[in-house]
């Protein structure tokens, strides 16, 4: 397995995010070569993680969620740039007011009964995924020295092996809060950070009713398959 270039993975602990102090192992990680068990993964995982709604903005027809309608789509790729077909892609996000429909979110911002904020898709032969949703709001992180999370989407992607498993977040271009976000800026490398920001699509390509964004996600692992 080739080592990752420096600066791509987040540095911990993250200032202002106390959980990163108490949850991150203090001992160094033990380097380990990749054998069969490291390269293994489930086949046809969508039998268990069943693809569901990809239109989060109007889960019930006739009852649209509040917020700016947007389309988000892109491709899941491997490190060689090849599409990953059949990848399970899970998306979750806050509503337009910056509130998650989750028991752990104690924010006073209102819930939107028409927005559950999660969906699951399966990539096609070209590695493509697509969701229709609304642009999430920013929200304050409830810690002593409050800071604001910029609008962002959470992605969980299951690729061909457990090594390619990725959980990440996607940000929006031109958001002033991006420069202040402690989680985005835990990634030391500026180029890596900019790859986490979606690209805005010009209105003619998405129609008049939606903001359009495109975002490709690159998974580790497949090129590292050991020679037989």
């Amino acid at each position: 397995m080739t080592a990752l270039p420096e600066g791509i993975e987040p540095e911990v602990p993250v200032p202002g995010y106390p959980n990163t102090w108490t949850h991150t192992p203090a001992q160094p990680l033990l380097p380990r070569p990749a054998g069969r068990t490291e390269m293994a993964g489930p086949v046809r995982l969508h039998r268990k993680l069943v693809p569901g709604a990809v239109n989060l903005a109007e889960a019930t027809p006739g009852r649209p969620a509040i917020g700016q309608l947007m389309q988000i789509g892109g491709r899941i790729l491997d490190e060689a740039g090849r599409p990953v077909a059949g990848a399970v892609v899970e998306l979750w996000q806050a509503n337009a007011a910056g509130r998650y429909a989750h028991a752990n979110d104690g924010s006073a911002a209102p819930l939107d009964p028409n927005f559950t904020g999660h969906g699951r898709a399966l990539t096609d032969e070209d590695g493509r995924y697509a969701f229709t949703t609304i642009k999430p709001g920013a929200y304050a992180v409830p810690v002593q020295e409050t800071w604001w999370r910029p609008p962002h989407l959470h992605f969980s992607v299951h690729g061909p092996s457990c090594l390619s498993r990725l959980v990440t977040q996607m940000y929006f271009p031109g958001e002033p809060l991006n420069a202040l976000d402690r989680i985005l800026n835990a990634i030391p490398d500026g180029a890596a950070r900019s790859r986490m920001i979606a690209r805005f699509l010009p209105p003619p390509s998405v129609g008049d009713f939606f903001l359009g964004f495109t975002h490709d996600i690159v998974l580790r692992g497949r090129h590292a398959t050991p020679e037989a």
Partner: protein, 190 residues
């Protein structure tokens, strides 16, 4: 191309993403009958952080060989085994999986003892962590395992799952994960 950077799963991973059989590796779908190959077992444990406090709503993903030591994609792999499962911790940091006792196998690294791999994701964990637990076996089998050998000898017992009785006629094994602090679980970088 460079891989996309990891970010924390955060505290709001939707509860709706967990199906009734996601923690059950012995079924390929929620409706499927469990595999009849191998010995079905339960794996239980608790996830804690600094100070021994529970990690709540953490996500664990388990993957392993089938009862004969084969993996998905092998010609003779168990077609009724999913090789992967997902669970989340409750308010006390506890998790549970149903799986089969994995078989041993050999690969380019050497003879692998009966083991299962866990990836843990949670609020505050900016990168997922990976560990491997070993089921009780003869000392020689464990001593020959090339991955267990990478762990300093004093910390190896932390990777052993302990027999913990029986439940519904299945043997139960216990494996606790301590993210940081006293008896911190050894984690790997692949």
């Amino acid at each position: 191309m460079f891989p996309t950077s990891q970010q924390t799963i955060g505290p709001f991973f939707p509860a709706e993403f967990f199906g009734p059989a996601d923690h059950d590796l012995t079924r390929v779908s929620a409706e499927a009958a469990p595999t009849r190959r191998g010995e079905a077992i339960l794996l239980r444990g608790r996830v804690t952080r600094q100070g021994g406090l529970p990690c709540v709503n953490a996500v664990l993903e388990l993957w392993q060989a089938d009862a004969a030591g084969r993996f998905a994609g092998d010609a003779d792999a168990d077609p009724d085994f999913l090789f992967w499962g997902r669970a989340r911790t409750d308010g006390d940091g506890r998790y549970a999986f149903r799986t089969v006792l994995p078989g041993r196998f050999a690969d380019q690294l050497g003879p692998r003892a009966s083991h299962a791999n866990v990836t843990l994701l949670g609020s505050g964990l900016m990168r997922r962590v990976l560990t491997t637990l070993f089921f009780p076996r003869a000392a020689e089998e464990l001593a020959a395992d090339p991955v267990l050998a990478l762990v300093p000898s004093g910390r190896r017992p932390l990777l052993l799952a302990d027999p913990a009785g029986e439940e519904d006629g299945l043997r139960v094994f216990r494996f606790d994960i301590r993210l940081r602090g006293t008896d911190e679980t050894p984690f790997f970088a692949v």
